[in-house]
Subunit: 122 residues, 2 copies
C-alpha cells in the first residue's frame, strides 16, 4: 500500500499551458498496473488544451467552477461533478471562476491502447 | 462526454456492510472502457471489509477522517489522502472520525485480470 497526500507530489507545468499544473499522484513508478491518477490545478481564466487522444478521462472535480468543453458546446462543472471523456472526443476544461479549478483526472497506461476494442470484438 | 454530479447516482449498500454505501459514478454502462469510479460513504465507526482481491484500488479521500488498514498496521487518512492498494494486498478503510468518511475508489474491469502480468513478462 502506498499512502501520500496529494500535495506531497510536486506540481509540474501541464503540457506547457500557462496557468495549468499537474501532479501525478499515482503513476507507473508507484506500482499502479493499469491507470494513473493526476490532480490538475487550472487558474482563473486558464484552460487545458482543446484536443483529443485515444485514451479516456475519468474526472472528479474537487474545487472551483468551470466548463467542460466539447464539440457540442460547454457544460458547467463544479465541486462534485463527474465527467467521462471517451476516447477520441475533443475536449478541454476551462476555469470560469475566481478561484482555482481543481480536479482529479485518471487515464489508462499506454500499454492498454487498442486492447479494449480487441476485447469488445472477441 | 458524460457529465453528472456524484449525487445523481443512487447510493447502494456496499457488500452488505452496515454503515457503508457505494455509488458507481462511472461504470461499464457509461461507456468506460478500462476502469470504474465509485464514491464510498463510510459512517462513523464503520469500515469497509478487510479483504483482498486481484485488482488494485486507487483512492482519493474527499471528506472525513479514518485509517487505511493493512497487515502492517494502520495509517491515518483524511481529505487529500491518496492511496494505492496493490492487487492481493489485504486492506480496509475505517472511519475513526465524527463525520462521514467519503472517498473515491477506482478499480479496473474484470476483463483486465492477468493482462498486466502478461504485459510485464512479454
Amino acid at each position: 500500500m502506498k499512502i501520500k497526500r496529494w500535495t506531497d507530489v510536486p506540481a509540474q507545468p501541464a503540457e506547457g499551458i500557462e496557468g495549468v499544473t499537474v501532479r501525478w499522484v499515482i503513476a507507473e513508478g508507484d506500482g499502479a498496473p493499469h491507470f494513473a491518477m493526476r490532480v490538475f490545478d487550472v487558474q482563473p481564466g486558464a484552460a487545458t488544451p482543446y484536443h483529443n487522444h485515444w485514451w479516456e478521462h475519468e474526472v472528479y472535480v474537487l474545487d472551483g467552477e468551470g466548463v467542460a468543453v466539447q464539440e457540442g458546446g460547454e457544460t458547467p462543472i463544479s465541486a462534485g461533478s463527474v465527467i467521462l471523456v471517451e476516447g477520441d472526443e475533443t475536449h478541454c476544461f476551462r476555469n470560469t471562476g475566481q478561484d482555482v479549478l481543481r480536479f482529479i483526472c485518471l487515464i489508462p497506461f499506454k500499454w492498454l491502447e487498442g486492447l479494449a476494442e480487441k476485447h469488445a470484438n472477441a
